[in-house]
Amino acid sequence: MSSVLYILDENLETLISKNIKAVPSLEYPIAQFKKLYGSNAPPVIDYHDLFTFTYIQRDSLLFVSVVDRVDTGLVETLVYLEHFYEVLKNYLGVKVLDKNIVTDNSVLISELIEETIDFGAIQVTDSGLLADYIKMKVNLPERVGESADLGASSDSDSDSDHPGKHKHKHKHKHKGKGKKGAQTGMGDSEKNEIEDLTQRAKKITGDPLMLLGGSKKKKNKKKLVNDLDFLMQEEEEFNFLNSDIAKTTIMPISWRTKGIHYAKNEFFLNVIEKVEYFMDFTQNVIKKNLIHGEIRCKCFLSGMPNLKVSINKIVNEDKQFLANCKFHQCVSLASLESSDHKDVEFVPPDGEFTLCRYELKRHVRDEPMVKLVNFEVKPKLKKFKLKLLLTIETHFKTTNATSKLALRVPIKQLFREYRVDLSKNLKSKCDRGAILFNISDDFLLWEVGSMSGGHGETQLSMGVEFALFNQEEYDREQEMLKTSMNPPPLREGPKLEELYKQIHEDDDDDDGNTEPVAEHRLQPRTREIDKLLTMDFEVPYCTSSGLRVEYLKIEEPQLEYQSFPWVRYTTLSDAEYAYLIY
């Protein structure tokens, strides 16, 4: 149970502090934390008998929880911090949190802390639910040139001098009234929203002129939005609260509010599998062959629908799958096991959520989706040439194809071992796509693009030829230059060797200057990555584990509407899909 929560920036300055248990001084604990904190400190730090600090580092921020006295529930605190970070990201509609966005929304954040934690006992950390409690405008910095396209996903109005556009409030009022047109859902376009607003504006002001604004240009629309907000502010303040909603957290189904309505009832189910693969190509040993799977759903369904999803792995009682699968809280875990027909039954939360995550190990003999069959470095020293050849093949159904495929071939090692002469052009050839040479980070990028599936029969290969430094020739040329009156031969295109030299000199300098700590951290990484051939690909309509959704049934006993379930499969390469080639 936390006593105080802090959010700190990278310089350990306090951005937010929230006193949960009436601790007399907020500054004393954090001052101690600053002393104890170091870059290698474990996430739990103990300060004598007084406090325990638990923290996580996300983006550039530190989330610190101070636990004083006896209480020792660490897991909760850590998990809470983790969840809280996610909630913040969702709430603020950003991918990466930074200092500014936190300070801009300090009141909102402290309110969020207040709702999620009650005298130290954690309450809710579901951002969808919290949205019903806390309807405060998110204050995002203005993005230049983007002011016209207001993302439907971010609730922001980019101008904070105007009264805010409380999207949640709008939503809410709809629920209250129940009869008013379509609910503006997450994926809905701005247009919808504007129409909606104009309709209501008409009601409030009775001014038909306002409607004209809706059909004008985008810029006008935005202005209109602001005007409308202006007008509606008054009305909203009275409709601010809806005590119905507050009950959701204590009802059996705490993740879904009542009274949700959509005109078109759709349910999207995405099966996303990330394959992690690591092979030591030099020794022919496979070190990792894992699947990180996830079923992500987007739910735009009215009322309280009951969904049944049948997954072939569960029907077939795949032991490994059952053991390594984690479900969202909406899935009744007990029913999953005891029910006679083995489908996943649940009442979904509104909007986006992750139904389940699973981790599967693949057998060593299972071929990877994209396999490196051949990698060769052929030095032809007599001709002063260095050839690099590689071949890949695919292992998935022939009807599928990768939508993107890119290979990153590090060549730093080659540059170290051989004296490559970049003043002569490199020659490259590939069966498909293009080969790019990244001179600053020393790698070749082979962008293959689409490659169809197969079981070893579809192969693509590429080759690159570097020129090696030829001392004799160089000497001869130098000699020629000295003696002849002709100007040196004209060269077109970028002078790679000079660029290379320039960049890598800088590198060396950088290494020297950086602090020892940073270097210490970076070094192993850079070294490692220079030996790894990594692949980045995406194969739609296919799962590498063979997981399949047998059926998806949506039932809403009261409303009985027609619904549209959509199922999609994708296999992606994980961050680590690599071959050790040197």
């Binding site: 008998d49 897991v75 500014n100 300090s106 059996p252 027909h341």
Partner: protein, 697 residues
């Protein structure tokens, strides 16, 4: 536009003008500006600008009365709470406004007001809070969210007025045993009670009956994730199973929770199950499998959580002789981008997991780490190899030493130093083996630069001098540098010199000793070292002058006695282990020390006595699945279904003596029906949908 300027130190007067100028006009835009000014106040409080902000109290009070906006209210409450925590008496004027909010019909406002009351350590506020809570409890009909807040607020009130909270314990008992109450409120009451009992020294630990516990566990489907986590946490040691069946029933109910996506819930269920295992005589292998699997999936988390999980794995490995979890070693292999604390913890796990089967695999990994660029890491890896050699017995030590010898050729300074240090430990564990390698080690004498490796080197030279023809030369190098050595190296030089002399009282060694004595008794400032030198000196002179008192044999025994064989002692005290195990997921797991040692005020947890308590942890049997009987997994599931439906406890026992085949038969039928179901699913309309899927995206 960014609100950067909110977050700056302001003078009270500046904000006041902000607040007042707008007061005149009643336009909408002024509302936002006013809010803006209020936000500045909160920002300044965060920045610690209390002195200025205190001045604004009257203004705040004024706004409180006229504004209905929830955000303004929130800011007012926040203000009072922050200032109130520092100067409780100062904010007493806010009382009427708080009381007003408390009586409003808005639940959120009421909760806010209650929190403010509780947050200020002043008796008038505390009294008000108590009154409110009492009326609420008596009314019974109050809203659950408010009720829950009130129950949790007792935790805080306990700090201000302990006696009064104690009088309410009975009420809390009533709430969670009350079946009509809402589940969350029940859990809140239980959690509060549990924490209060835990905090108060003279209160007996909380105890609830198995029936109540089962009722509460039955509520799990209706609870939100955090409540489940709280519930499971509270039940450990609070409920004591009286029969084996009690435990089995509870395990069955909690098992599915291991698969919860919330790490906290998953880990708490693990803790609860591990606790219950103390009250059963045997468990099925499936349970072990599921425990292990859930732990391994938990490892796929952000590093901070991963760290915690790893610490808990250590705890589990330590506490049970026969581990209740089966973990594959490869999960604990260090990745290059792991943070240092994870690398350390993984090494510890590897060390604990090592046995003769896994040793080759682990050694392979450790050898790789030893050549790591990261100096710390490679030293730790070498150390781990050495410890494994000491831990696992002679056979294993052989392979470990081979690896070490290979690494020696690697020749990097710090690796060699570390090898020298661990090699001493290996020699102390197996004095007679590995003598052939001593010479190879001593060749690296120049590498020993750090005190520890020097010490080790001196020890090796001294104790294996019979293998080294030139040991005196080697040793003299150390002797001549004694001035610049650290204290412990000086000690070991002294000790070794005496040993050499006792073994072989040649004039050369006598000279050396005398030189040492002179230096140590005259030039050294450390009294310990000096008196040690005097002691030896006197000892030697006595043995020389009066052989009748101190014969050379006796002297040899005193100075150069047989060293006991060392053992790596990983076994902790039984009681400590017990307490550790009951504290999975807490601070204890990080430090691997009992709570009492970390927090002196903490109560220790103990396994409570029960007829079925296992006296020794090793007695737990793990039953393998019997193939003839059909998978046991299924049958337990069947049983669980029964429990779910009827919530009747003894169902496991009833089922137990029934023939198993019948259950299986039923199982088979059901299975076939599911197959039909999936075929049914391919109705034309559904098929159409299936076909149309691809195009949509």
């Amino acid at each position: 536009m960014s609100d950067q300027r909110i977050f700056a130190r302001y003078k009270a007067s500046e904000i006041r003008t902000d607040l007042q100028t707008i007061d005149v006009k009643k336009i909408k835009s002024s509302v936002t500006k006013r809010k803006h000014a209020l936000r500045k106040i909160i920002a300044n409080l965060t920045l610690g600008n209390y002195v200025e902000m205190v001045v604004l109290f009257p203004d705040i009070l004024k706004f409180w009365q006229i504004e209905d906006d929830l955000e303004v209210k929130r800011i007012c409450h926040e203000y009072v709470r922050t200032i109130g925590a520092l100067k409780p008496r100062f904010v007493i004027d806010a009382m009427p406004s708080i009381r007003n909010d408390l009586r409003s019909n808005n639940e959120q406002l009421q909760i806010m007001a209650l929190e403010t009351l509780v947050g200020i350590p002043f008796f008038k506020f505390t009294d008000e809070a108590f009154n409110f809570i009492m009326t609420m409890i008596n009314k019974r009909s109050s809203s659950p969210a408010l009720m829950k807040s009130a129950v949790y607020s007792l935790l805080q009130l306990d700090e201000w007025d302990h006696e009064r909270v104690m009088t309410l314990l009975g009420v809390l008992h009533g709430i969670f045993e009350d079946h009509v109450g809402l589940p969350t409120v029940q859990v809140a009451a239980l959690k509060t009670l549990y924490t209060l009992h835990d905090k108060t020294k003279n209160l007996k630990p909380l105890h609830i009956s198995v029936d109540t516990a089962l009722d509460l566990l039955g509520l799990i489907p209706q609870l939100n994730e955090w409540d489940v986590s709280n519930l499971l946490e509270c039940l450990v040691t609070v409920v004591v199973p009286q029969t084996h069946d009690d435990s089995y029933d509870m395990i069955d109910i909690v098992l599915p929770q291991l698969q919860h996506v919330n790490t906290s819930v998953a880990l708490k269920s693990l803790e609860f199950i591990v606790y219950l295992l103390n009250y059963v005589d045997e468990i099925s292998e499936t349970v072990v499998d599921r425990l292990s699997n859930s732990i391994l999936t938990l490892l796929e988390k952000p590093p901070e959580l991963q760290f915690l999980i790893l610490r808990n794995i250590i705890l589990l490995l330590l506490t049970r002789e026969k581990p209740v979890v089966k973990l594959e070693v490869s999960y604990f292999f260090v990745e290059y981008n792991d943070p240092i604390y994870i690398k350390d913890t993984k090494l510890e796990c590897l060390y604990l997991l090592a046995n003769s089967n896994t040793l080759p695999q682990i050694l392979d990994e450790l050898e790789q780490y030893s050549t790591d660029i990261d100096i710390q890491m490679s030293r730790k890896a070498v150390r781990a190899i050495g410890n494994l050699a000491v831990k696992l017995g002679a056979e294993a030590a052989e392979t470990c030493v081979d690896v070490l010898m290979n690494l020696l050729e690697f020749g990097v300074d710090y690796v060699v130093q570390e090898i020298i240090s661990v090699f001493r430990n290996i020699l102390r564990r197996y004095p007679d083996r590995f003598q052939s390698d001593v010479r190879a080690i001593v060749e690296y004498i120049d590498c020993a630069q750090v005190a520890e490796s020097k010490n080790a080197m001196i020890w090796i030279i001294c104790n294996y001098s019979h293998l080294l023809p030139n040991y005196i030369e080697l040793f003299e190098v150390f002797c001549s540098n004694i001035k610049s050595e650290t204290l412990d190296v000086q000690f070991s030089i002294l000790n070794s010199a005496i040993k050499f002399f006792v073994r072989d009282p040649s004039p050369r060694l006598e000279n050396m000793c005398l030189r040492l004595f002179n230096f140590l008794t005259e030039d050294v400032n450390n009294p310990d070292l000096r008196s040690r030198a005097f002691l030896y000196w006197r000892l030697l002179s006595i043995s020389k002058e009066r052989v009748d008192i101190l014969t050379p044999e006796v002297l040899k025994e005193i100075v150069d006695g047989e060293l006991p064989v060392i053992e790596l002692n990983t076994k902790l005290d039984q009681n400590v282990l017990e307490e550790l195990e009951l504290n999975i997921g807490t601070v204890t797991s990080v430090y691997l020390k009992p709570t009492g040692q970390i927090f002196h005020t903490a109560k220790t947890k103990h396994l409570k006595d029960s007829p079925v308590l296992n006296s020794e942890k090793g007695h737990l049997k793990i039953i393998k699945q019997d193939e003839n009987e059909g998978p046991k997994y299924e049958t337990t599931l069947e049983n669980k279904g029964v429990i779910r439906q009827k919530l009747q406890r003894n169902s496991t026992m009833n089922d137990y003596d029934r023939p198993a085949e019948k259950v299986n038969e039923l199982k088979g039928k059901r299975k076939s029906s599911t197959n039909n179901a999936s075929k049914l699913a391919r109705k034309p309309s559904l098929l159409m949908r299936k076909f149309s899927l691809k195009k949509k995206f």
